[in-house]
C-alpha cells in the first residue's frame, strides 16, 4: 500500500470507506507532516489538532456504521479567508489576529456535512491581496519545490500544503488568479469555478464581483470530487446561481476527441518566458494527440485586463474593508483620543502596506471627479473583454495557454514595484473579469520548477474543464510529482 500522503482525495475517501485505514490514523499522519513542515514552509496559520482528531473519530464511527458523506473522514484545510465557527479566522492580517468567527462559511459547512475533517487554516496574502504570499502578517509561505522561492498567492498556504502533501485538498479563493497562479507555481491542480457557482457567504470579501471560492488538489479527479461537494446555490448569497451541480466525478471520463481548443495569441506574448512556453506547447501537443483540435484565437481587449482589474478590485475592496474599524470585532488601537483617531490608527496598524495601497487606490478611483474616468471606464472595458471571450467561445470549446509568465520567483524579488507583482496575474485575470471557470494543471518543469497550463471555459463548463484536465493527467504524470523532502 502506498504511503497515505501519496493518495489523493478520491483514493483516500475510497480507502476510508473500505476501512483500509481509519480517519484518525489519516488525520494524525497529516497533522504530523504539517507540524514538521511549519518551520520550513509556514503554510498554516492555525492548526486545529484537537478538533481535527475529534472530527476524525466521529467520522470513523460514521464510516463503521456505513453512513456519512462523500468525503467522510478525509482531511482538508481551509484558506484562512473562510470563516470557521469557533476557530480563529485571520485573513492573514493583524486586523483579525485574534478574531474567532461565530459562524461557518457555507463552503466550510458543506464540506463539513460531506464529512471532511478540517486540519487547520492556511496562510495567505493579507485579505487575499497578493500574488506571492509575501504580504501575510504571519510571514511568507515558502515554495516546497525551493524554499527560497514564493509559492504564489494569494492562496500560497493552501497550495504549498497540497504540493507538500500536508493535506490532500484545500479550499482557496481566486479574485485575479489566486488559485490558479499558486497551483502553477507549486505544481498542483487548482480550479476557479464560474462566478456564482460556489457560495461567497462566509468568504471574507476582497472584490465582490470577482471573488470565487475553489479548490487546490493534486489532481483533476480530486478537484471534481471536492468541487461537487462545495458547489451549489446558497440563499444567503444573492450572487449565488440557482443551477444544478453536475456530478463532476461521473463526467470526468467524457471523451476528449474533437475538443476545439483555442490558443490565445495574447497569452503567447513577449512576457512569457521561453522555458515556460516550451512546456506549454509540449502539453498542447499531448492534447492534440488525445484528439483535441487546436486553433488560434485573439481577444484584442485582453491586454487591458490587468489595468481593468487594478481599478475594479481596489475599488470594491476599499468599500469591503471599511467595516474593519475597531468597533465590533478585530484589532483596536490603544487609547483612541477620538473617533477619527480610533479609525485611523486602528486601520493604520491593522492593515499591511499592500492592503493600504489598494484601499487608497480604490478610494481614489471611486472619488468624485474620478469615478467616470476610472471606475466606469474600467467596467466598460470589462464588458469589452467579456464580449471578446463570448465571441471566442462561439468558435472553440475551451481556451488554453500558460497560467503564469514565469515559474516561481525568489521571495523579495518583486516586492519593490507593485506593477511588476501585478503583472504576474496577466494570464489569469481575464477569467475573473468575465466570471469564467478556469483550471491550472501541472504540465512540466523549467529548471526543476513546475509550469502550469491554464484551461478556460464558458460559464458553467467546469465538467468539461475537469474532463479535459483528467484526460491529460491520465496521459501524463506531472501531477504525481512531489517535491523532494516531501515525497
Amino acid at each position: 500500500m502506498s504511503e497515505l500522503h501519496h493518495m489523493g482525495l478520491a483514493e483516500l475517501a475510497a480507502g476510508l470507506r473500505a476501512r483500509r485505514f481509519s480517519s484518525f490514523e489519516l488525520t494524525e499522519t497529516f497533522l504530523k507532516r504539517i507540524e514538521a513542515s511549519q518551520g520550513a514552509l509556514n503554510a498554516f496559520i492555525s492548526v486545529t489538532r484537537e478538533a481535527a482528531l475529534a472530527q476524525a473519530a466521529a467520522a470513523d464511527r460514521a464510516l463503521a456504521a456505513g453512513t456519512g458523506g462523500a468525503l467522510e473522514g478525509v482531511p482538508v484545510a481551509h484558506k484562512d479567508l473562510f470563516c470557521t465557527k469557533g476557530v480563529r479566522t485571520t485573513c492573514g492580517s493583524r486586523m483579525l489576529d485574534k478574531f474567532v468567527s461565530p459562524y461557518d462559511a457555507t463552503v466550510v459547512a458543506k464540506l463539513k456535512s460531506a464529512g471532511a475533517v478540517m486540519l487547520g487554516k492556511t496562510n495567505m496574502d493579507e485579505f487575499a491581496m497578493g500574488s506571492s504570499n509575501e504580504t501575510s502578517y504571519y510571514g511568507p509561505v515558502r515554495n516546497p519545490w525551493d524554499p527560497r522561492l514564493v509559492p504564489g498567492g494569494s492562496s500560497g498556504g493552501s497550495a504549498a500544503a497540497v504540493a507538500a502533501r500536508l493535506v490532500p485538498g484545500a479550499t482557496a479563493t481566486d479574485t485575479g488568479g489566486s488559485i490558479r497562479q499558486p497551483a502553477a507555481l507549486c505544481g498542483i491542480t487548482g480550479l476557479k469555478p464560474t462566478y456564482g457557482r460556489v457560495s461567497r457567504y462566509g468568504m471574507v470579501a476582497f472584490a465582490s464581483s470577482l471573488d470565487q471560492g475553489g479548490v487546490l488538489t493534486a489532481s483533476a479527479a480530486d478537484a471534481a470530487l471536492m468541487l461537487r461537494e462545495m458547489a451549489g446555490f446558497d440563499p444567503n448569497d444573492s450572487t449565488s446561481v440557482e443551477r444544478e451541480v453536475p456530478d463532476y466525478v461521473a463526467e470526468l471520463d467524457a471523451p476528449l476527441a474533437g475538443l476545439r481548443v483555442g490558443l490565445l495569441q495574447e497569452f503567447f506574448d513577449k512576457g512569457l518566458e521561453p522555458g515556460n512556453e516550451q512546456r506549454i506547447r509540449a502539453a498542447l501537443k499531448v492534447f492534440e494527440s488525445l484528439g483535441a483540435r487546436l486553433s488560434e484565437v485573439s481577444l484584442p481587449n485582453l491586454p487591458l485586463s490587468v489595468p481593468v482589474y487594478y481599478v475594479v478590485a481596489p475599488a470594491e475592496c476599499s468599500s469591503n474593508l471599511a467595516r474593519f474599524d475597531g468597533v465590533r470585532y478585530g484589532h483596536r488601537c490603544e487609547k483612541p483620543r477620538d473617533l477619527t483617531d480610533l479609525y485611523r490608527r486602528t486601520r493604520g496598524e491593522g492593515f499591511g502596506a499592500e492592503v493600504k495601497r489598494r484601499i487608497m487606490t480604490g478610494t481614489y478611483v471611486l472619488s468624485a471627479g474620478y469615478y467616470d474616468a476610472y471606475y466606469l471606464k474600467a467596467q466598460r472595458v470589462r464588458q469589452l473583454i467579456s464580449a471578446d471571450f463570448t465571441r471566442a467561445f462561439t468558435g472553440v470549446d475551451v481556451l488554453m495557454g500558460p497560467t503564469t509568465p514565469t515559474p516561481a520567483f525568489p521571495i523579495g524579488a518583486k516586492t519593490s514595484d507593485p506593477i511588476t507583482m501585478y503583472l504576474n496575474d496577466i494570464y489569469t485575470i481575464g477569467a475573473n473579469l468575465a466570471g469564467l471557470p478556469a483550471v491550472s494543471i501541472p504540465c512540466g518543469f523549467v529548471s526543476e520548477l513546475p509550469v502550469g497550463l491554464q484551461i478556460v471555459g464558458p460559464h458553467f463548463s467546469e465538467a468539461r474543464l475537469l474532463a479535459a484536465a483528467h484526460a491529460f493527467q491520465r496521459a501524463t504524470d506531472w501531477h504525481r510529482r512531489i517535491p523532494a523532502g516531501y515525497a
Binding site: 473617533l339 493600504k356 472619488s367 466598460r380 475573473n432
Partner: protein, 96 residues
C-alpha cells in the same frame, strides 16, 4: 499620473488610514505608478458600451420572504468586541 502630497493625505483621510511621515512618500510614489499604469484604459474605445457590474449577464435579484429568522446572540457576538457596556458597542464620545 503623479499625485501630490495633499491628494495622498486627502485619500488617506477619506479611507481613515493613518500614514506616518515616512510612509507618505512611499504611497505617493506607488499610487502614482499604479494610476499611470491603469491610465492605459483611456486608449480603449468604449463609446456606447455599458459598464459591467456583474459578470453573469441577465440575472436579477432574488427576493426573500418577509420572515424573522434570527434569534438574539448578542452576548456571543460581543465576545469579539473590543469595548462593550450594557450591551452597547463603545467608541470615543461623538459630538454632533
Amino acid at each position: 499620473m503623479a499625485l501630490t502630497r495633499e491628494q495622498i493625505e486627502s485619500i488617506a483621510a477619506l479611507a481613515r488610514l493613518e500614514l506616518t511621515a515616512e510612509e507618505l512618500p512611499v504611497y505617493q510614489d506607488s499610487l502614482s505608478r499604479i494610476l499611470e499604469f491603469v491610465g492605459a484604459l483611456e486608449r480603449a474605445d468604449t463609446a456606447s458600451v455599458t459598464p459591467m457590474a456583474h459578470p453573469l449577464p441577465g440575472l436579477s435579484q432574488r427576493l426573500r420572504p418577509d420572515v424573522v429568522t434570527e434569534q438574539d446572540h448578542h452576548a456571543e457576538y460581543q465576545q469579539n468586541a473590543p469595548q462593550v457596556a450594557a450591551g452597547l458597542y463603545l467608541v470615543p464620545k461623538v459630538i454632533e
